[in-house]
């Protein structure tokens, strides 16, 4: 992993106009791609894109474990209490605690021995960014932060966005194509080189589930669930099945030995 937020914003490929805008910046140690598809004035689209990335950079400054003076690091060092932290910090900490309980401890913001809510923060930040775009009238867009996607509307009136779920071993292929107009899609897995997942209860490396995708309304939650299920290993398949029944968060899984599983309500493109 490179340090989160390394380097200055590296916007590439700005296309504004009636067809919308596509922009990529490197924030939180990953690439964040934005597509705005509304036929809004170019200046409006440009402003919305800038506000979106400004928010994501702000979150990185405040929540990154790599930034010495981030709120998260000050809290971890005891220089700040949760009570005196920002409302956003408290919201994130509360969400992490809820997700720890909801996942039987498999989502653990203290898994590394220190406070590190990154597993929730990225998805949460993108969810907030998407909500703000909706409120500002940009109702057709998607944001993809390192493979975690929040989408609204579609590329054209009446058309849903089509989103691929990466194939673990075929870099230019996808294992599923999903379609929707209001989805959060998060994928966690072990197939990225050098990425290891440890069962927080045993401390042992787990690798049975190669790719876990969770689809639902909230991206921070979906991301945390996907991360937790990778750590659960094979029993995570049943956990996901119950999750779909209880909450409507759908799922798609690829095992280490190449088997594929999906929940009945997964929004697969027709």
């Amino acid at each position: 992993m490179s340090p989160a937020g390394a380097g200055s914003p590296g916007g590439t490929g700005v296309v504004a106009g009636a067809s919308g805008l596509r922009r990529v910046e490197f924030i939180m140690g990953t690439a964040i791609s934005l597509q705005l598809a509304d036929a809004l004035p170019a200046a409006t689209v440009e402003r919305l894109a800038e506000q979106t990335f400004a928010w994501l950079r702000e979150v990185d400054e405040r929540f990154s474990t790599y930034k010495v003076d981030s709120e998260v690091n000050r809290l971890d060092r005891g220089e700040l209490t949760a009570e005196r932290g920002s409302p956003d910090l408290r919201k994130v900490l509360d969400a992490c605690a809820d997700l720890w309980r909801a996942t039987d401890g498999y989502f653990d913001a203290h898994a590394t021995g220190r406070l590190d809510p990154s597993g929730y923060v990225k998805g949460w930040a993108v969810q907030v960014a998407s909500d703000r775009l909706m409120a500002a009238g940009a109702t057709n867009h998607w944001i993809n932060a390192g493979g975690d996607v929040r989408l609204r509307g579609g590329p054209a009136p009446g058309m849903p966005w089509r989103i691929g779920i990466a194939h673990p071993w075929e870099k230019d292929k996808v294992a599923w194509v999903l379609a929707g107009t209001d989805l959060a899609i998060a994928t966690s897995g072990t197939y990225e080189r050098g990425f290891h997942v440890v069962d927080p209860h045993t401390g042992e490396a787990v690798s049975a589930l190669c790719s876990v995708t969770v689809v639902g309304p909230d991206l921070g939650t979906a991301d945390a669930y996907a991360t937790a299920v990778v750590a659960m290993g094979t029993p995570g398949l049943d956990w996901l099945a119950r999750l779909a029944t209880r909450t409507g968060y759908e799922s798609a899984v690829i095992t280490e030995d190449g088997r594929a599983f999906s929940s009945a309500g997964l929004p697969v493109a027709s």
Binding site: M1, S2, A6, G7, T12, G13, V15, R22, V24, G29, T30, A31, S33, W142, N144, G146, G147, D148, V149, L151, P155, W161, R162, I163, G164, I165, A166, P168, E170, K171, D172, K173, V174, A175, V177, I185, A186, T187, S188, G189, E192, R193, S211, T213, M232, G233, T234, P235, L237, D238, A241, R242, A244, V253, A260, F261, S262, S263, A264, A269
Partner: protein
């Protein structure tokens, strides 16, 4: 096969086990039973017709007979487990479940002293994910969801190619 009546020996699945008798329906809900303990509790809850309600809430100890040395992560040990029996107004209902590979494969009920009554067990199947063929598609898509990419990993990714194509 009626797998999925997991609650009686206490996964926290919360599936409700119904025992239907001729003159009423008794609901056994053992969602609060603890998992993995040698002796587990089955709690007979409310939700009955007047006839069956006479025996309402009671607890009985279940005895675990054989147990696998390494219980699977579901928390269920393989083997057959029989509840001690719950005394009802019309007799004593005993429930047995068989666990194979960590899943309940069979559940049966019997009623001692229940003259002219039959006992049947119904339970919703545990939800499972459907296995399918792993596809390898080159479809038209707007964006890709994948395991976390570093900035470096992004440059070699399908997402990067898609972004470049739109730029």
């Amino acid at each position: 096969m009626r797998r999925g009546i997991a609650t009686i020996i206490g996964t926290a699945v919360g599936t409700v086990l119904l025992i239907g008798a001729k003159y009423g329906t008794q609901t056994l809900d053992a969602a609060n039973a603890s998992a993995g303990a040698p002796a587990q509790q089955a709690v007979a809850g409310a939700g009955s017709t007047p006839t069956a309600a006479a025996g309402a809430t009671k607890q009985s100890k279940a005895t675990a007979k054989p147990a696998a040395p390494n219980p699977p992560a579901s928390g269920l040990k393989d083997g057959t487990f029989t509840g001690a029996g719950g005394q009802e107004a019309y007799g004593t209902i005993t429930v047995s479940v068989t666990v194979q590979n960590g899943r309940i494969s069979k559940a049966t009920g019997s009623c001692a002293g229940c003259q002219g009554l039959s006992v049947s067990i119904t339970g919703g199947a545990l939800p499972t994910l459907q296995q399918e063929t792993l596809a390898k598609q080159s479809a038209s898509i707007a964006t890709v969801s994948g395991a976390t990419q570093t900035s470096e990993g992004y440059r070699a990714s399908l997402q990067s190619a898609l972004d470049a194509a739109k730029a």
